[in-house]
Symmetry: C2
Subunit: 361 residues, 2 copies
């Protein structure tokens, strides 16, 4: 900072800091696990490699699903690669996860999920019986979510070139309501709701990996959220933005929204629902449950006047019984998430740096 340069006003400097925050630098020469962790490194990769070459207004918005208009019909399109290991874990498997993840990304755009296309990358030697179980689980998840798998592809790679099974799922849905959900709709004053306890999926998978020397009885929360979203949208017209808090957890969602909408976010740690077993596992690992992946948890940004109705609607739904209001959107500090801790302090809840968690997705 050159104090002699009079043109560097405080707002200029702040703006420059913000810009840098929004466009993290990509310094690495090769892909690291951190690039897949959902935090700062992922963001840098997405920004500096993908958006730089492929960017367009829809992609740049970095929503869970793209909102499109095709032939006068409003559609949502999404894709995700599912690389979870192990493929079977308490409460689910990679098959139902692929369906739920896809359905939930569409639901986050306010779209009724309709169709799924699934591409499988199978490693030579993968047991066909395991594949059958996974595909049966997809079928059952699809039925439950009211979607059909209508297109697919299967590739086989040599032993040592995969990890048993990867599934890339894409989905389309229809946006039937005259709504526009997205980070650009978030306003200071909006209340932040989460549909239930956070971190269940990530901890369940870590336990299943054997990374934790723990025997805890915890299931992944993997579930399809469209019926919850539908109820929420019916009850609360002031829903501004929805996110499925997967990789990187709720903290990552909040940071993404704070950056994209250039707002401040304040979260009350004591109000964030966390199961005691998740809290315990996270303490042992030295991680914050707010950064741990969920596969059936919605984060909703709702106009203040609609927040009580939104919370009530969530709580009436089986998947939202433990929903809670955990924070509020503020005008400043733009791009920053502040956490009011349980012991009364305030600290920045930053984007994840590095790769503090085992790969669980």
């Amino acid at each position: 900072m050159d104090a002699g340069n009079r043109r560097d006003t405080v707002p200029d400097i702040l703006e420059r800091i913000e810009r840098a925050r929004r466009r993290p630098r990509l310094l690495e020469k090769a892909i690291t696990m951190a690039h897949g962790a959902g935090g700062k490194a992922t963001r840098a990769l997405v920004d500096r490699v993908f958006l730089e070459a492929l960017g367009n207004p829809v992609l740049d918005a970095l929503e869970d699903a793209a909102s499109l208009e095709v032939g006068g019909v409003r559609l949502a399109l999404t894709t995700d690669a599912f690389t979870v290991h192990p493929p079977f874990f308490p409460g689910g498997d990679i098959g139902c996860l692929a369906v739920h993840g896809t359905v939930n990304d569409l639901a986050s755009a306010g779209a009724r999920p309709l169709y799924i296309a699934a591409a499988f990358v199978l490693e030579e030697g993968f047991p066909i019986e395991d594949l059958r179980r996974i595909v049966a689980s997809m079928a059952s998840a699809a039925r439950e979510a009211g979607v059909q798998v209508v297109a697919g592809d299967t590739k086989v790679v040599q032993r040592g070139k995969g990890d048993g099974i990867y599934i890339a799922a894409a989905g389309i849905g229809i946006i039937e309501r005259p709504i526009h959900l997205g980070a650009d709709q978030v306003r200071p004053g909006d209340r932040i709701l989460v549909s239930g306890p956070v971190g269940d999926h990530g901890v369940a998978v870590m336990v299943a990996r054997g990374d934790l020397d723990l025997e805890i009885d915890l299931q992944s929360d993997t579930a399809p959220l469209w019926s919850l979203v539908e109820r929420l949208l019916d009850a609360a017209p002031g829903v501004h933005c929805l996110r499925d808090a997967t990789r990187g957890g709720v903290a990552t969602v909040l940071n993404e929204i704070a950056l994209a909408a250039q707002v401040g976010i304040r979260v009350w740690e004591a109000r964030v629902p966390v199961r005691p077993e998740v809290r315990g596992a996270c303490e042992i690992l030295g991680i914050d449950p707010l950064y741990v992946a969920n596969e059936g948890k919605l984060v909703a940004f709702v106009a203040p006047e609609d927040a009580p109705a939104a919370l009530a609607a969530m709580r009436e739904h089986p998947l939202g019984r433990e929903a809670a209001e955990i924070g509020v959107v503020e005008a400043e500090p733009a791009g920053t998430v502040l956490l009011e801790t349980e012991i009364g302090g305030v600290r920045v809840l930053d984007m994840l740096a590095g790769d503090p968690l085992p790969r669980i997705c």
Copy 2:
């Protein structure tokens, strides 16, 4: 065959044989490379695992893209996983291939390609400079094909759990014409056209892999086919079915159609365009170029009265200059492809059995 059982009429027996042909058995306990080769084993896996659990009329049709109606608009949806190694090869790379493959599957359904969603599975250690080149190639292919990449996902897997880069691409397109293309539209008498020389992509990739101790100057044919398809559909209303002859080559497409439409197919080997360098490489490898993958070749089934116009339309397009009529659809033998060889014999051009080719997709 029990000659004493009078109920076993010849048609019964033939029908049973046909049924067995249509539903090959899956005897293996674990995934083998053959399950990814596009031939009999792939078909068995798709039939006995995927269709058995997920089947519905759209998926069962096993077209290159699903034809759907959403909100009164006719859409096509497709997905493919791209696992080609090496990721760079003469004439292209995994990036443009992912765009072309997706666009071509949509084009095969008669759909104007609109939007792509791409999921990346990156292996730890993959050079970011290579990723940049691949993404730039996708961007350029998308521009050329008139599509936008509007959704994406990036996952990173540990070293040894991938092969540098895998891309799963999904695409949606709009079916603007009042047409229905598909195997169920193919009729005896239909002429079979191919848009140019076969086998270029597969041989180019095999050369790039170093599997062949050959120095030949051959490029992959990877290219977007929608503008060719559009011209074809405008010129020939009697187009019944289109296929993008990728994995398993033209022979696999012909077998799929023969089985699905329960027709016979007769191909004249001498009329199949093959570049001399591809023919030479295939002779060394002991494989038939008809089984080798293409990434920019269309196979069209066209009503006989429209075949001349269709062929002329193809030849007017830069990607169809060497188009040829290579065969005809016949009523019998149902489910079978017969090849009239250059030396005057006739033999069954069967589905690929086993895994005779290196993994090239």
